[in-house]
């Protein structure tokens, strides 16, 4: 009887580990459920074009990652995209005239939000909106401009 109980226990553990693995795959690996954010505060930024930015893209300042993009919405009033970012609570001394731009890590790398600290005395708080923003650079537009410029130079 005792042996039977350990057998049942081991089988129970085996099945439970399988369920945990599947749960891990569902929650962590696929996008079934966004992870709960760690402690911090939320700020917003409006961009004319947020390019290939994705939810969970990094937010960095001076090359250091300080937070993540948590949501990207389209504003039907101003036709801009509103990017919601969650910043770690230890980085609560960002000046409120900080500017945000969407940059690309490497030529084919993923896009991230880069912040540039301003000089104001006041700090960004939970729910503040970054006013100075620079849109993502769309490569096709850039190439188009370049080609157009070349043509007009020749004339």
């Amino acid at each position: 009887m005792q042996q039977c109980k350990t057998l049942e226990l081991l089988v129970g553990l085996f099945v439970a580990s399988g369920i945990v693995a599947l749960f891990f795959l569902a929650m962590h690996v696929s996008n079934l459920n966004p992870l709960t954010e760690d402690e911090g505060y939320t700020i917003y930024a409006r961009f004319e074009n947020s390019g290939g930015l994705k939810v969970k893209s990094p937010v960095s300042i001076a090359g250091v990652r300080i937070g993540r993009v948590t949501n990207i919405r389209f504003d039907t009033q101003t036709y801009e995209s509103i990017v919601e970012m969650r910043i770690g609570k230890q980085y609560n001394t960002l000046p409120d005239d900080t500017s945000a731009s969407i940059l690309t890590a490497g030529l084919l790398g993923e896009q991230y939000v880069g912040l540039n600290a301003g000089g104001s005395e006041d700090y960004l708080e939970d729910g503040s909106v970054i006013e100075y923003t620079q849109s993502a650079i769309v490569l096709e537009k850039l190439i188009g401009q370049f080609l157009y410029q070349n043509k007009s130079d020749k004339k």
Binding site: C4, L7, E8, L10, V11, L13, F14, V15, S17, G18, I19, V20, A21, L22, F24, L25, A26, H28, V29, S30, N31, L32, K54, V55, K56, S57, P58, R65, R68, A105, G106, L107, L108, G109, E110
Partner: protein
């Protein structure tokens, strides 16, 4: 020339007869489900032998496969400056292909061969005929619990393999080679879909579990009841399971991922 043709004919007829016996056997096994519902203890015992004892080899292989994927993926992707995609590469290849396939191959080698040898020896020592004499159906009593144990275990093992492999890939990619942890996970989450990728992987592993258990048990049941016959049956189990898994994997992949 005539002898050669006749040999070909005999071979074909033998294969067909075997396929027929296999189908009847499968039908009989599946009808043993009611027996298991009344006696779940039989199933639990087999789950231990088939599933729990395969656990360790699956976890260790999964870890190393994930680590190698992380390493190789990093070397290739870093040439293009796309190390951030390492997470996608590791997770997609594990969840879609390697998890179900490698787990099934290991399962056939570890559990399938053991099942064949066990059933074959039972037949060789006339335990199965002994049961029949006592009016106990050996297929329902002996084979069906093992079949369903394999059928249940393999999806669990494949999910474990993928999960551990991804953690192994993260260990190498993020821990050793310095890929950004956030990018690793976020790109993975952005590019992998729960239904399209993970559930399809699970469906694959269910199919493989069905096929490998069927092959292993049928080869044992159909073995020539001598020591040589059992050893041949064990070899055939591993070889046929590998063929079946790899062939079915191609078909399933073509069906599942063909559209997009």
């Amino acid at each position: 020339m005539i002898r050669l043709t006749r040999q070909l004919g005999r071979y074909t007829l033998q294969s067909l007869a075997k396929l027929g016996r296999g189908s009847l056997f499968l039908n009989h096994t599946l009808s043993g489900l009611t027996e298991i519902l009344f006696r779940p203890r039989l199933l639990i015992r087999q789950l231990y032998f088939v599933g729990v004892l395969t656990f360790l080899i699956i976890v260790i292989s999964g870890l190393f496969v994930g680590m190698v994927l992380g390493l190789q993926g990093y070397y290739t992707l870093s040439d293009f400056g796309a190390e951030e995609s390492l997470g996608v590469m590791v997770a997609a290849s594990l969840v879609r292909e390697l998890g179900p396939v490698v787990a099934a191959l290991l399962f056939a080698g570890r559990a399938g061969s053991a099942l064949t040898a066990e059933i074959g020896l039972m037949k060789a020592t006339e335990q199965l005929s002994g049961m029949e004499m006592m009016a106990v159906d050996p297929v329902k009593r002996i084979i069906a619990p093992r079949f369903f144990a394999g059928f249940i275990s393999l999806p669990i093992l494949a999910a474990l393999f993928s999960a551990i492999g991804i953690l192994g890939g993260e260990m190498v990619g993020v821990g050793l080679l310095g890929v950004d942890e956030g990018s690793f996970w976020s790109q993975m989450q952005a590019n992998l879909d729960f239904y399209d990728d993970i559930m399809n992987g699970v469906i694959k592993s269910i199919v493989f579990g069905f096929v490998t258990s069927w092959i292993a048990l049928f080869e044992g049941y159909d073995a020539i009841p001598t020591s040589e016959g059992v050893s041949r049956a064990t070899t055939r189990t591993v070889v046929n399971s590998a063929f079946a898994v790899l062939g079915l994997d191609f078909l399933l992949t073509a069906m599942m991922f063909g559209d997009d």
